[in-house]
């Protein structure tokens, strides 16, 4: 009797364990694997965005519901990743083979994925939609060394330059006439530093590759196989910045600053000019009301006649098991109607053809917000994305370090840029 009673619990436990194992295995993920993006639009699509849920939950929930209604048999699972560490998260997913079906990317994130064969060629799979988008936007996801286009263009942005009218006035500079050329910018910067006894800098950031581009430096050769930003014009720009740094016109912490700290310096009113976006106006109004009253807005200077364009895109995973649905969804989110609706919610700009002609982007109503919007929309018509997609994080570090050595006077601008170009080209070739 005792033996019998002892065996029963053990047997029960064993049976329970087997049951758990069986349920844990479960049915393997079904569904056929389709090689083509043509075909029936059905299945579950995973959609990943880049730090958008906090502010746009309602909008995206609406888009998802609308898509699921239009294509019965589809289900969209929306994932939002925080801004911090987004590339690392993407890298981990890509390496593990768990990329979502539709992924929010920028061109420089799409490039290594495309090169690794992980991004679907939209040009082949969905080339019929090309005419719906601005040509420049569609081409922003072309990758050097690869044929094809690797993401649908989504929203665009460009950065106005904010300046502090009060600081300008105190330095004897006309707040109604901010600098519109590099010569004026450099001269005014030196004046700002001198008049403030080096307490106020004009700029808070060291030049990045984008700054070299706007200055008119040829960043790469025509085929995109070699960096060339050490040409005389690049040396010229860096020489100017070195002079600003020595005079205190470039903030001392520019060498280690990230965008967030440069913005903080501007809000503290220890820096007179800072690039930003229309989103920043809301932040200024909320966080720095004294500054907001003195905010001036102007275009970032350039020697090329073209502003810098930031592009967001929606990439479709080449390994997606629901390619037709994924492509349909990516196109759905980025079509003219949805891009316009999204742009009206936040200060971004559609990449679809004809959208920038809408009165929303051409008519001012006297407020700062509309002035920024109209000016930005106008410059976006001819804007280009200066940052080469092949510029990896490590290359950006190489350039930043070289710039810092030049600004501190430890190397001449030419030596610094020569070494940066040599190193970037070496990294490019070993890629």
């Amino acid at each position: 009797m005792r033996r019998h009673s002892r065996r029963t619990p053990a047997a029960t436990a064993a049976l329970a364990a087997c049951a758990l194992l069986l349920s844990a295995c479960g049915a393997p993920d079904g569904g056929g694997d389709s090689d083509s993006a043509a075909g029936k639009v059905e299945g579950q699509v995973t959609f990943q965005t880049w730090n958008l849920k906090a502010r746009f939950q309602k909008y995206f929930d609406g888009v998802v519901a609308e898509f699921e209604k239009k294509y019965p048999g589809t289900k969209v699972k929306w994932i939002d990743q925080p801004a911090e560490g987004y590339p690392q998260k993407l890298s981990a997913d890509a390496a593990a083979g768990t990329l979502p079906d539709v992924v929010n990317v920028s061109p420089d994130l799409a490039y290594p994925l495309a090169k690794a064969g992980l991004a679907l060629d939209i040009g082949t799979a969905a080339g019929k939609y090309r005419g719906e988008y601005l040509d420049g936007a569609w081409r922003s996801h072309e990758m050097p060394g690869l044929s094809g286009v690797y993401a649908f263009p989504w929203y665009l942005n460009t950065g106005p330059m904010f300046y502090n009218k009060d600081l300008f006035r105190k330095a004897g500079l006309d707040p109604a006439k901010p600098p519109t050329t590099y010569d004026r910018l450099f001269a005014d910067a030196l004046t700002m530093a001198r008049k403030s006894d080096r307490r106020i800098a004009m700029l808070a950031g060291a030049p990045s590759i984008e700054d070299f581009g706007r200055y008119g430096v040829r960043l790469m050769d025509a085929r995109g196989t070699e960096f060339t930003f050490n040409e005389p014009k690049g040396v010229e720009l860096l020489t100017h910045y070195q002079q600003l740094y020595a005079a205190g016109a470039l903030d001392a912490q520019a060498l280690t600053a990230v965008a967030e700290s440069a913005g903080r310096k501007f809000q503290q009113q220890s820096v007179a000019m800072n690039p930003g976006s229309a989103l920043d106006l809301e932040n200024f109004k909320r966080d720095a009301p004294d500054l907001y009253k003195n905010i001036g807005i102007t275009d970032a200077v350039n020697n090329t006649g073209k502003a810098n364009m930031y592009v967001q895109g929606l990439m479709v995973s080449a390994d997606s098991k629901v390619k037709p649905a994924a492509v349909a969804f990516a196109h759905f989110v980025t079509d003219r109607r949805h891009q316009m609706a999204f742009a009206e919610q936040v200060a971004v700009f559609p990449s679809t053809k004809g959208s920038l002609d809408d009165p929303y982007f051409t008519k001012e109503d006297g407020t700062d917000a509309t002035r920024v919007r109209v000016a930005a929309a106008k410059s976006l018509r001819t804007a280009v994305n200066y940052t080469p997609v092949v510029l990896s994080d490590q290359m950006k570090t190489v350039l930043r370090n070289a710039v810092a050595r030049a600004l501190q006077g430890k190397q001449s601008p030419k030596e610094a840029l020569d070494s940066a170009v040599a190193e970037c080209n070496r990294l490019l070739k070993t890629g």
Partner: protein
């Protein structure tokens, strides 16, 4: 009587036979789960890193065998030598204060006087604070417009470029590391001090020794082993420093990358979609070898003194 003896004997012999049938490999069966965890999460990753260090692997691309190419590249990489210099300087700058200051703190808080608990808790507080939070707080304090510079200006000195001068930046990061580690090592010393025999202090006092002499002749020898432990722990952690420098110097490691440490170099080379996993693995192997050498050096120094 015979029946009783017979009844006992079979049971006893049965137990003995049972015990004897245990296999010589039984202990390994008990160790198996632990060994699997260590093997799977420590040994395998380590061996994998060593293997990768001989390839040109990328984040999204398997590597091809390239022999010692990564190690050769390392020798010609100026950033490697900068990182090595900074990591060594970090050890030299951080270890002596962390061996001595926590001991002094421990002596101070050891006495039972009213209110001492507050100071014990206060000294330990940095240990439990997140290193990221601590780093950001110190960045704000050391900023050009931060509290410390405001104080310096109020006192008539000029502003110090704590966060933009490479040397000041490194020293500031060291100071934060020391400040953060004081409480942790203080606790270790408190435990060691509790083991010092009271009789030795009394005997020394009878001989007329004052507090300083008693400290040098009784306390220090008694906690020497603990000092070696603290030196080894803080040296290894200092050599592998990442968070403090990363937070204060930025992702590029300060102006021109001049404050980059070896571990920051591993992170810079190996992460991201274009990460150079092979090269980063080689850097990691070198960090491991140097760290091991550092520990052996500290332990050997101890043995030398004991002899």
């Amino acid at each position: 009587m015979r029946n009783a003896a017979a009844a006992v004997a079979p049971r006893g012999s049965g137990r003995r036979r049972g015990i004897r049938t245990h296999l010589p490999t039984s202990p390994w069966l008990f160790l198996a789960p632990g060994l699997l965890v260590v093997g799977g999460f420590s040994l395998y990753p380590f061996l994998s890193t060593v293997a990768h260090s001989f390839t040109d692997a990328r984040t999204l691309r398997a590597g091809r065998f390239t022999g010692g190419a990564n190690y050769q590249e390392m020798l010609h990489d100026p950033m490697f030598w900068t990182g090595l210099r900074n990591s060594v300087l970090y050890v030299l700058g951080v270890v002596p204060p962390l061996v001595v200051l926590p001991l002094l703190l421990a002596l101070l808080v050891r006495r039972s006087v009213p209110g001492i608990a507050f100071f014990r808790a206060a000294f330990y507080l940095p240990v439990v604070a997140s290193v990221v939070v601590v780093g950001l707080i110190w960045v704000w304090l050391l900023d050009d417009r931060g509290l410390i510079n405001a104080l310096l200006e109020a006192l008539g000195f000029g502003r110090a470029r704590f966060l933009s001068d490479p040397w000041l930046l490194l020293l500031s990061a060291m100071a934060v590391t020391v400040w953060k580690g004081l409480g942790y090592y203080m606790i270790i010393y408190l435990a060691a001090l509790a083991q010092v025999p009271r009789e030795l202090h009394e005997a020394c006092a009878v001989d007329g020794a004052g507090p300083v002499r008693r400290f040098l002749t009784v306390t220090v020898p008694a906690v020497r082993a603990t000092m070696v432990l603290v030196a080894a722990l803080s040296a290894v952690n200092a050599f592998k420093v990442f968070s403090e420098v990363y937070l204060m110097a930025g992702a590029t490691g300060g102006p021109g990358g001049e404050d980059t440490t070896l571990v920051m170099l591993v992170q810079q080379a190996g992460t991201g979609l274009s990460g150079r996993v092979g090269y980063a693995s080689a850097l990691s192997v070198v960090v491991f070898v140097l760290t091991l050498g550092l520990m052996l050096l500290v332990l050997r120094a101890n043995r030398g003194e004991d002899r």
